[in-house]
Symmetry: C2
Subunit: 373 residues, 2 copies
């Protein structure tokens, strides 16, 4: 995989110094400020959901606001990641103060979107599990995403609505959808308020001010401008490959190994301890990618294998959290057995998605290693 | 795959005539009578389960009785299958009278075993889903097959019992296990009584008498002794390959295609219509195998690929029926939500097993086709 990266052990390769890091950080800071301005101009409601009705901006404004919030998180992650990977080249006090603030910001801003995506994923799964579109020749048998019908009533993403309902388990799917809709919408509403509060807080303004300074003045150490970045980037890559070496990839490469559901009925299904190492690899992969971006400046070649691996790990994380949400919903007091049954099926379905994502990662990564020169 | 079978289009191959069929049928009839005698000698209680306490024979006798019942079904299936495949070579009236009686017999005798195996499969799955053995370093967290604990209390297969119980979903697994135990044990008890009644009926004695005649005298048509068996065996193989060509093998060959759970929450999850073609292939594969046995007499080479394909299809059938039993149990009135949740997870798990079995079949079959000379 070293082929398209700058190889620090290659004496003929061009040295990349702290100056490149400074340029990268300035660019990300500028991007952060641009996104922040756009976010404020478009209403700063952070988009969809409960706040949509109160938003003074229209549909287009809400969409732009979502994009702006995403761009804000995106650059905050990159600045934070670079501070971590290239720590020895940056002013230590400044770095240590900055990183937790950026983590707080991107975490706070990301939560609303995460709840929205989780609900969307679970309603789509309920739709699929109702088998509405599996046999196009047959009369559509009723159970077309009854849960999604409840969702569209509540102003969520729209899906075809159920023409009628029949059978216990179909009602279960509808009720499960409605329950998840209620719980995740509540969580999203809270996350939305928290994000709005955060954006208006003095803590946020302090971060924004620091990023504004960073856009013109990067606090490098005195020796950084002539120090080679590549050993630090290589160390980030090594942390990634070490963590991947610790993953159970042999098991993951055997389809239908049934590992991901092993805690499907354990007393505390959320979070699954076996998911932790995969989540960790997801973060290390991201740090590796940001380090490569800093090395290559604007000329970062597209590494499709790295992208595919990252997508598999995102899918792993999303499915893991969706499965936990289904299990959590099943603990709601006084739900009907049919609702609980549907949530059990849904939980297992998402845990299978977890397993499928691990398989996908293994396939991508194996190919990567095998094809390397 | 033709390599180790007799090829009817190969002019140098030895002709196999109706005489070989007669020898095969005589051997199977003799085996049937031997199994029947053994079954009567060992108490004829057809083995395990509710009748065990009443059985005059000891543990060893019960085991032998189970083996005898299996051997009885085994030869009944082979006689019945040969009557079907080689119909033109046998007395038509006799064949038409014999086949439904043999089907009735092996169906009736097989039911008790099927319920027993289904319960065993579901309790093992509950055990696995409780994740008891996944992290050997950790304190065993309680949920060790609480369902299986209920099973051993009720005299079923023994498993490690749960030292304590904790958490809603764990109780759910225990209750789900107990519910399945109750329902499937009741079904097995009924099947057992029905089998005992069948073995004592005049209908059964009429079949046994006919098989006794078959052991010495096979009613071949006048021309059969010199007629080549191979075109009829080839036709059986063609029916199999045609049916396999109709299976969605491309989808099945993509791991984690999520097809098998598509009706996981449909109003009538049992039986899944998509399973039908696979069950049909399972039966045709068996007929093909019996036809090959008749051709080869006692010298049937072991075709490991055919065996593996058959095992995958058996697993497919077993998982399909276990999933249906879990869904059925979830429709029991007044069950607790935690029980229903566990049954939902279990249903999805078994549907996933269905998908895994299809993948396994596709892998075996593809290899078979690719490796053929």
């Amino acid at each position: 995989m070293a082929q398209q990266h700058l190889d620090p052990t290659d004496p003929t390769a061009e040295v990349v110094t702290g100056d490149a890091l400074a340029a990268y950080l300035r660019a990300q800071a500028t991007e952060f400020l641009r996104a922040l301005r756009l976010h404020r101009e478009t209403g700063g409601t952070n988009g969809a959901g409960p706040a949509r009705a109160q938003a003074s901006a229209g549909e287009k404004g809400a969409e732009e606001s979502v994009d702006a919030a995403r761009a804000l998180r995106r650059s905050a992650r990159r600045i934070s990641g670079s501070l971590h990977t290239f720590r020895p080249l940056l002013d230590a006090d400044w770095s240590e103060e900055m990183r937790p603030e950026l983590a707080w910001l991107s975490g706070t801003l990301g939560l609303e979107h995460a709840y929205e995506a989780r609900l969307e994923r679970l309603l789509l799964a309920l739709h699929r599990l109702s088998g509405a579109t599996a046999f196009p020749g047959q009369v559509v048998s009723v159970d077309v995403a009854a849960g999604a019908a409840a969702a569209s009533k509540a102003g969520g993403p729209t899906h075809p609505t159920a023409p009628q309902e029949r059978g216990n388990l179909t009602v279960g799917a509808a009720k499960a959808g409605a329950l998840l809709e209620r719980q995740l919408t509540l969580a999203r509403t809270r996350a939305h308020s928290t994000a709005l509060q955060a954006l208006g807080s003095s803590r946020f303004h302090a971060v924004a001010d620091k990023v504004a300074v960073l856009a013109s003045e990067v606090p490098l150490t005195p020796t950084a401008p002539t120090t080679d970045l590549r050993p630090l980037a290589a160390a980030a890559e090594e942390r990634l490959t070490d963590a991947i070496a610790g993953l159970p990839l042999v098991v993951a490469g055997h389809p239908y190994n049934a590992e991901a559901l092993v805690h499907g009925l354990s007393p505390d299904p959320s979070p699954h301890p076996q998911d932790g190492p995969w989540h960790q690899v997801r973060l290390l992969l991201r740090l590796h990618r940001y380090a490569q971006e800093a090395l290559h400046g604007g000329n970062m070649p597209v590494d499709v294998r790295l992208l595919a691996a990252g997508q598999a790990l995102n899918r792993h994380r999303d499915a893991s959290e969706a499965a936990a949400a289904a299990a959590q919903a099943a603990r709601t007091p006084r739900i009907a057995p049919a609702t609980a049954y549907a949530l059990g099926v849904l939980h297992a379905d998402q845990r299978h998605e977890v397993e499928a994502a691990r398989f996908a990662f293994q396939q991508v990564w194996q190919k990567q290693t095998v094809n390397a020169p």
